[in-house]
């Protein structure tokens, strides 16, 4: 049962009025009326929420969804290839990495789409460059805005507050937007000014915009109000969040997403990541990689359970990607080097589960012993923007129409 969202702003007004304390100086932000409207408007036009999870470092897709039915896989990876007997078999050709009980369950419940062979022309093997291509949806080119930022501009052109949330230490290029102010924070408990006790009340005051003419100053006052509003909302949502669902060792910030959804934040787009290039498994990778996948799989399956707990599982889809896959043959250090095409995943209650796209050949490799991509990754992006969020003008976002998969029920 969801809270009645109309009650929320009032509760918050009382809360803040109590917090501000400096009676003569406090200015109750007039943005509350707007905030209430924004909350009521919620998410994308169709009420759906898109969450994006980035696996940084280049996840080894071949050891994530293992094509055990293809002998070439074992020939290319005589030492790090995972034997069929260890895999979590999902059909007569593929099995998940043994560490991925959560993914296996989601797949068998029909809540997971696996899209094979995602990539782009002339792949870059640099983390930095390839990630920027995925962030901007503009391979071998440059764009100052991220594709998620552009998506926010497109589906919420009036840029309501708190529409775009990026949980990260620093803002991802993916959410850089022309119109929106992405709410970027890391630890909800630290999404605040670091201030001495004596200063705190004074710092919580944001001046009225009133008759200010300077547009940059108006913008900054908006940001300041958003910082105060969002930081209070986020800390409040987080303090109220209490879930019995076990996310395992690393929740990949997905608990924070659930907390904000449960607090009826009017957010349509969330962006989180498995950070710090974690998936860059050049050496002795199997134990390490399995562990990374276990954490990912635990967190993702817990996320779906948690969404069901709060009654929002039908409203949310999660898309998972990495900046590249890894080389097909193992290297001499029992790891894998930077590669090209890779599997992507889409998870949620409304997904038509199964395989999408085609696994590239393991024998006819592209330049540098890589998988040749079979699906432009922007087709998956477009599946989310057009199929899930029902935003039709894909050329506006991606410069072209890449088509889409029929993935949602």
């Amino acid at each position: 049962m969801k809270n009645n969202i109309k009650d929320k702003p009032l509760a918050r007004r009382q809360l803040l009025a109590g917090m501000a304390g400096l009676s003569a100086l406090s200015m109750v932000p007039p943005a509350f009326a707007q905030a209430a409207q924004a909350a009521a408007a919620q998410a994308a036009a169709n009420g759906k929420v898109l969450v994006i999870l980035e696996l940084s470092g280049g996840n080894d897709g071949l050891n994530t969804v293992v094509p055990y039915g293809d002998d070439a896989y074992y020939r290319q990876r005589p030492n790090i290839g995972i034997p069929k007997s260890d895999l979590r078999i999902i059909d007569d050709h593929f099995g998940f990495n043994p560490g991925m009980a959560g993914f296996e369950r989601l797949y068998k419940d029909g809540k997971m789409a696996i899209v094979h062979g995602c990539g782009y022309e002339n792949p870059s093997y640099s983390h930095f460059t390839s990630m920027a291509y995925w962030h901007t949806a503009a391979p071998n080119s440059g764009n100052e805005y991220g594709w998620v930022g552009k998506l926010a501009d497109a589906i919420a052109p009036h840029a309501p507050a708190n529409f775009l949330v990026n949980i990260a230490a620093s803002q991802s290029l993916a959410v850089r937007s022309e119109k929106h102010v992405p709410v970027v924070f890391d630890d909800p408990n630290r999404f605040m000014r670091e201030a001495f006790a004596a200063e705190k009340e004074a710092l919580d005051i944001v001046a009225e915009i009133g008759a200010v003419e300077n547009p940059s100053r108006r913008f900054l006052l908006d940001i300041a109000r958003s910082a105060n509003d969002a930081s209070a909302l986020v800390r409040d949502a987080w303090s109220k969040y209490n879930s019995p669902v076990d996310y395992g060792v690393n929740d990949l910030d997905l608990q924070k997403v659930v907390a904000l959804l449960d607090a009826d934040m009017p957010t349509g787009l969330y962006y989180v990541s498995y950070r710090n290039n974690a998936f860059d498994t050049h050496v002795f990778q199997n134990d390490l990689h399995r562990r990374l996948l276990t954490y990912t799989s635990d967190a993702v399956s817990a996320f779906i359970q948690d969404l069901e707990r709060i009654g929002r599982a039908d409203d949310v889809a999660l898309m998972i990607f990495s900046e590249f896959g890894r080389r097909v043959p193992e290297n001499v250090s029992l790891g894998t080097d930077h590669g090209a095409a890779n599997a992507m995943f889409v998870v949620g209650n409304q997904i038509k589960g199964g395989h999408y796209g085609e696994l590239p050949s393991l024998t006819e490799l592209a330049q540098g012993e890589n998988l040749a991509y079979t699906t432009d990754f922007r087709k998956v992006y477009q599946t989310m923007t057009q199929g899930w969020l029902e935003y039709g003008n894909s050329a506006n976002l991606f410069g072209d129409d890449f088509g889409r998969f029929d993935m949602f029920s």
Binding site: L22, L25, S126, F128, A132, T136, G142, N143, E144, Y145, S170, Q171, L173, R176, V181, P182, V183, F185, F191, M192, R193, A195, F196, A198, E199, A202, L203, I205, V206, A207, E208, V212, N214, P215, S216, R217, F219, L220, L221, I223, A224, S226, A227, A230, S231, V249, N250, A278, H282, V283, D287, L288, R291, L292, Y295, N331, V332, S333, D337, H338
Partner: protein
């Protein structure tokens, strides 16, 4: 009272003075401002934009000149003004064998296997981990270049704070964003330093000459993979970026123009720090480029690009947006483009026109720019009257947390700038930066000495405890994973090399060689600053601080709040009475001022 103080008190007394100063100056008008529009406020605006702001004395000095003389002194600066600035002091980390540095660790070990040597290190004839010294050396250079690049950033930050020719530094910062190259790809601080020196030397000269110099600069050649652009298999990356990002902008050339230009740049490469043209790889055939045909080489291609009116408009508009306003009208873009073209691409002429123009001093321009993180830090230090960038907080960390790390622009397109500098979290973080300057963290850990990676730290600990390399390098600290169970540890493994050990050892070798960054904190004495100005009460103190530090004044309620806060904290409204104990309170109130949205404006 000094002239500067009188002016800023005048401003504070008549709160709206700032908006009325330049009512005569017309937006979108490039003709010079009139004498009556030139005063302390316009001089302050000029110094904010053409430099990084300054102290009241520095502003008064400019205001005492005519507008023409003031702008001239900034644009046509005298290099001998900066005899107090020292050249970069190299730590001496580079060695001849490191060049050419292979693109990756696998490429390095492959080379060592094939030739018995890489990076100037021979493969051990036998025994376990025969390639280990090579791998150690590989990681050594990766770390050393990163650490030394951070020293180059610090050296540059010090120059930005202390230079008497601030426009030279501001223009270098512009070009660094325009010709964005990233340390993580170039992996050689020397190339980055050389490119910065190019911007220092040529930044206000001919754009055409600068473009040629950058196109032949090893940092850029390496960043854009010029080495793979060879006759018969031209790589378009370099030619595309030159046209798309550096000179014309998209839509002003065809894909065919890119391919033809790429042919002209074939064979352009570098050896260590020198530009070379490899004649065997150069395609000397006829090219058809932007409607012209000939056996063009790269320089001729650049000259044809320079003949296009759109090139002058593109670069003049970008310079305008950096120094004046985010938006430029099409008419203004055309007009500035002709100014630049008629001046034969002399950037100084363009800058002089802009800084003297009515448009520059019009209400639409004043106080309308959001400071970049580097600008914020440098102008904070300058306005405090510091002589260099303090070592605590760490300049690179602080600006990085605010989303601008020198030598690490996010993409080849540089920093987006303008409003993208700001997020709610980053606004709070900017206030935190001010606090770290005014109240330095005594638990500060220098990032150029202590490695931030828990992985490397745990390898270091376990090696010191006497573990063998295999055991010591088991991954141990993913999330809250903890140390792997004893039974899972393998005995010392027979292998060619161990990357984790190399990573640890490389760091150890790097910090041995790279000179430390001085970790002094800012010497600030706000009490003395106010007493020298003859400030008597808390209202005057706040007005002085607001005028000194803010180009856009906050509203009256904020001013009252600050006065009340200071009076409460001092227990009196008298600055005279509180003279001996007011430093902490003044710093608190300055932190409040620097946390205001208006402080972010230039």
């Amino acid at each position: 009272m000094s002239r500067g103080l009188r002016s800023i008190f005048t401003l504070a007394t008549f709160g709206l003075a700032l908006n009325s100063v330049s009512l005569m100056a017309q937006q979108d008008d490039l003709s010079p401002i009139s004498e009556q529009d030139w005063n302390y406020e316009s001089a302050a605006h000029l110094l904010e934009r053409a430099g990084f702001g300054g102290t009241p004395d520095q502003i008064s000095e400019l205001a005492a000149m005519s507008a023409e003389a003031a702008v001239h002194s900034l644009v046509y600066f005298d290099p001998t003004n900066n005899s107090h600035l020292l050249p970069f002091e190299h730590s001496g980390v580079h060695e001849p064998g490191l060049e050419p540095f292979p693109p990756s660790r696998p490429a390095t070990t492959e080379l060592a296997k094939q030739t018995g040597e890489a990076l100037g290190v021979k493969v051990k004839p036998e025994g376990n981990r025969r390639l280990q010294p090579v791998v150690n050396k590989f990681f050594y250079w990766l770390r050393a270049s990163v650490l030394e690049t951070n020293r180059v950033s610090y050296w540059w930050a010090d120059r930005m704070v202390a230079s008497r020719n601030p426009l030279q530094e501001k223009m270098a910062l512009f070009w660094h964003g325009h010709y964005a190259v990233n340390e993580s790809k170039v992996r050689d601080y020397r190339k980055l330093l050389n490119e910065l020196e190019l911007f220092h030397e040529m930044g206000t000269g001919s754009f055409r000459d600068l473009m040629v110099a950058v196109a032949q600069d090893p940092a850029m050649l390496s960043f854009l993979d010029a080495g793979v652009n060879v006759r018969g298999a031209p790589n378009e990356n370099f030619a595309r970026e030159i046209m798309e990002l550096f000179t014309m902008g998209v839509g002003n050339y065809s894909e065919m123009d890119i391919r033809e230009a790429a042919r002209a740049f074939t064979g352009w490469n570098y050896v260590d720090l020198e530009f070379v043209i490899n004649e065997q790889q150069h395609d000397d055939g006829e090219k058809n480029f932007l409607g012209r045909s000939g056996n063009f080489d790269g320089v001729e291609i650049i000259d044809i690009i320079m003949e296009q009116p759109v090139t002058a408009e593109y670069i003049a508009s970008k310079i305008y947006r950096f120094f004046v306003r985010d938006e430029i009208s099409p008419a203004m873009a055309k007009e500035l483009g002709s100014v630049l073209r008629e001046a034969d691409y002399d950037v100084a002429v363009l800058l002089e026109t802009i800084f003297l123009s009515q448009d520059f001093y019009s209400p639409a321009s004043i106080g309308s720019q959001i400071k970049s993180p580097v600008q914020l830090a440098v102008s904070t230090y300058r306005k405090l009257g510091l002589q260099d960038a303090p070592g605590v907080p760490d300049f690179n960390r602080a600006t990085g947390a605010l989303s601008q790390s020198l030598f690490r622009p996010p993409t080849v397109a540089g920093w987006a700038g303008g409003r993208s500098w700001m997020t709610p979290g980053l606004l709070l973080e900017r206030g935190n930066f001010a606090r770290d300057v005014l109240f330095p963290d005594i638990n500060f850990v220098p990032p150029d000495r202590v490695n931030g990676s828990s992985e490397i730290r745990s390898v270091a600990d376990r090696i010191r405890e006497g573990m063998d390399i295999t055991s010591a390098t088991q991954p141990s600290s993913l999330g809250a994973g903890g140390i792997m169970a004893e039974s899972n540890m393998l005995a010392d493994r027979d292998e060619e090399f161990n990357t984790r050990y190399g990573s640890f050892r490389g760091w150890q070798m790097a910090i041995e060689r790279v000179k430390p960054i001085s970790r002094h904190t800012a010497r600030i004495n706000l009490s003395e600053m106010l007493v020298e100005q003859g400030v008597e009460n808390t209202a005057e103190a706040i007005d002085y601080l607001l005028a000194r530090f803010m180009r856009v004044q906050p509203d009256n309620s904020t001013r009252s709040m600050l006065i009340e806060f200071l009076s409460d904290d001092l227990g009196t409204t008298s600055i005279v009475a509180a003279q001996t104990y007011m430093e902490d309170s003044l710093r608190l109130v300055l932190h409040l001022i620097m946390s205001q949205p208006e402080y972010q404006l230039s």
